[in-house]
């Protein structure tokens, strides 16, 4: 295809502009990475910088010495993410399947029940009182998994649409003729067939759990239930928390030696590391999900 001069100019402009946008997107990450590897004294002199005067891994060495705190927070986050996503996918697809069946009498009733939750909410106060006073959920692992995050109307409708559009009725009917129970059809046929949509929805659920800190803000008062996000908030509010831990006694370090300025940024790196690691593998599903979500949301 012949390119005119104007087209070439536009192409070059696009590249330049996108390089700038991409730099803008990545630079803040670069700043916290560089900051976390900066020596404390040059941080105190020059602040966080892209080009540290003197580099150092002190912050990470320090965090390694108090690793148990972070390992625990990581553990909580991983556990909550895994359990929440698995349970969420299960109940979401179990609800979506009957709704997708054209011969199911109550499918429209169910669709309305699910859909209405997307339009109106009772607000935080009734929900907070319900969970804390009636379900006694405060300071339990369940508080991090169940309220608000387990599933939502949008996910249910997304999976229902997948079943409706991608699984031929004849397939279900022939399984029924073979004498398969509904549970078996769901478990042996629908679940395996819907892996693509489950992957997308599961990805969104997993991200929501990993990044959630609001449930803990409302329901958790004991730090041992903090996941990594709330650990980060706690550290930001009070760098003393690190100093007071076993860390300083183990290191024999006094407060002045604590590389607190760099540690903050190293903590942030710890917080996003898992996302950065899995990101390249997930990008495809994510993009697909956004498009499906926007078109049918």
């Amino acid at each position: 295809m012949i390119q005119t001069k104007g087209e070439r100019a536009f192409h070059v402009f696009s590249i330049v502009a996108m390089v700038m946008f991409t730099l803008l997107a990545f630079l803040p990450f670069m700043l916290i990475i560089m900051a976390s590897f900066t020596e404390e004294s040059s941080l105190i002199r020059n602040g966080y910088s892209f080009f540290p005067e003197k580099m150092s891994v002190d912050a990470y060495v320090y965090m390694w010495s108090s690793a148990s705190t972070f390992v625990r927070a990581y553990g909580v986050s991983f556990l909550v993410t895994a359990l929440g996503t698995a349970l969420g996918l299960l109940i979401t697809s179990m609800l979506a399947y009957p709704m997708s069946r054209q011969d199911f009498k109550y499918r429209n009733v169910l669709a309305f029940i699910v859909f209405f939750t997307m339009l109106f909410s009772g607000g935080i106060v009734p929900s907070y009182i319900l969970w804390t006073k009636y379900f006694q959920i405060k300071d339990t692992l369940a508080a991090l998994i169940i309220p608000n995050l387990l599933t939502n109307g949008f996910y249910v409708l997304l999976i229902r649409n997948f079943y409706k559009n991608n699984v031929p009725v004849e397939l279900i009917e022939s399984a029924q003729i073979d004498g398969a129970s509904e549970l078996r059809i769901f478990y042996r046929m629908m679940l395996p067939l819907s892996v693509p949509v489950l992957a997308t929805v599961g990805l969104f659920m997993g991200l929501a759990y990993w990044n959630d800190w609001i449930n803990a803000l409302y329901f958790i008062t004991k730090p041992q239930y903090y996941g990594i996000q709330n650990m980060l908030i706690r550290l930001m509010n009070n760098i003393q928390f690190l100093k007071s831990g076993q860390a300083s006694s183990m290191l024999g370090a006094n407060a002045a030696d604590l590389p607190s300025t760099a540690v903050r940024m190293a903590m942030a790196i710890i917080g996003i590391l898992p996302i950065l690691v899995v990101f390249p593998f997930l990008q495809k599903y994510l993009t697909k999900g956004i498009i499906v979500g926007a078109v049918k949301g």
Binding site: H11, F21, T22, A25, F29, Y48, F50, M94, P126, T287
Partner: protein, 305 residues
């Protein structure tokens, strides 16, 4: 073969499958809806929720007598307005540029740049913002203002800067992500339209103005209407955690969502919090219904219901 619907033997297994999900919505969504009566009570834990005295609309009266009600409503609406207008424009710009480069070597890298900022939690985002803004070691004070000879700014205690900061932060986080829908749409446009325009002598900019943008218009309208339906909601983390819950910033960072949280958890004023929450839910509901009605008129296919 079509089997007749009905028959308990046939519906019961399906109902049982649906039961856990339904139970969840019942507890997580419908019981709180039933609980909106709390906004009309003077909640006293000693008497219990149900035993507390009814006070009619008193909670709302008190709420709207305070300046809080005006400030949080104004902030919520204006921020959303800025996010919608600037976010849409930026997303479309990025989408047009990206569509030009989809086959280029760098396209994968560009795409991760679009998505990555939206994957981090508000907590990590607050750390990133802190790296730029904090008074002692922040990048802006140390590496930008100091060399320019401008006095340091105490970002976390000066409310006047935050409208710009929050809009910028929100755009940084979401504009690339928002562009993906438009990229998908543009790549679906029939290439022969552009070829024909080219033969007629239309340059790139003219093609964008005369083909891409007009074809995008319905999508833009619908996405915008949907955002307007949510204009009474705000991202709690953006307005609470990113400004570090700093009291000095409330005048420009308080939104309905942060007010509900602070009234409930920090001030312990259940009545005010419940009233503000219900105010948000009811106006939000009306807005969603209105937005949907308009979408239905514009393009029935895209209506929610």
């Amino acid at each position: 073969m079509k089997t007749k619907s009905g028959g308990l033997r046939k519906t019961l297994p399906l109902l049982l499958l649906a039961a856990p999900g339904l139970l969840y919505f019942l507890i997580n969504n419908y019981l709180p809806m039933a609980g909106i009566f709390i906004a009309f009570k003077d909640v006293n834990y000693a008497k219990g929720i149900f035993g507390s005295d009814w006070v009619g609309f008193d909670n709302f009266k008190f709420l709207f007598q305070t300046s809080d009600a005006w400030i949080m409503t104004r902030n919520t609406l204006l921020y959303n307005l800025a996010f919608i207008v600037l976010g849409t424009m930026l997303s479309i710009l990025i989408a047009i540029l990206m569509s030009e480069l989809l086959k280029s070597l760098w396209s994968k890298l560009f795409q991760s740049g679009l998505v990555l900022p939206n994957l981090i939690s508000m907590v990590v985002l607050s750390y990133i913002v802190f790296a730029f803004l904090n008074a002692d070691s922040g990048f802006i004070n140390n590496s930008i203002l100091k060399p320019l000879g401008i006095p340091e700014i105490n970002w976390y205690s000066e409310a006047k800067y935050w409208p710009y900061l929050l809009v910028f932060i929100q755009l940084w986080k979401t504009a690339g992500y928002g562009s993906i829908v438009y990229i998908a749409f543009i790549s679906g446009i029939d290439k022969s339209i552009y070829e024909a325009a080219k033969i007629d002598g239309a340059g790139k900019l003219k093609q964008i103005r005369m083909i891409t943008l007009p074809l995008l218009k319905p999508t833009i309208i619908i996405l915008t209407l949907m955002s307007i339906g949510r204009i009474f909601n705000s991202d709690f983390g953006l307005f609470y955690q990113v400004p570090m819950n700093a009291g000095a910033l409330y005048s420009t960072t308080q939104t309905i969502d942060t007010y509900v949280y602070r009234a409930l958890m920090q001030v312990n004023d259940i009545g005010m919090s419940a009233a503000a929450g219900l105010y948000q839910s009811v106006v939000g509901f009306i807005l969603v219904m209105a937005a949907n009605a308009i979408v239905k008129k514009v393009n029935p296919e895209n209506a929610l219901f």
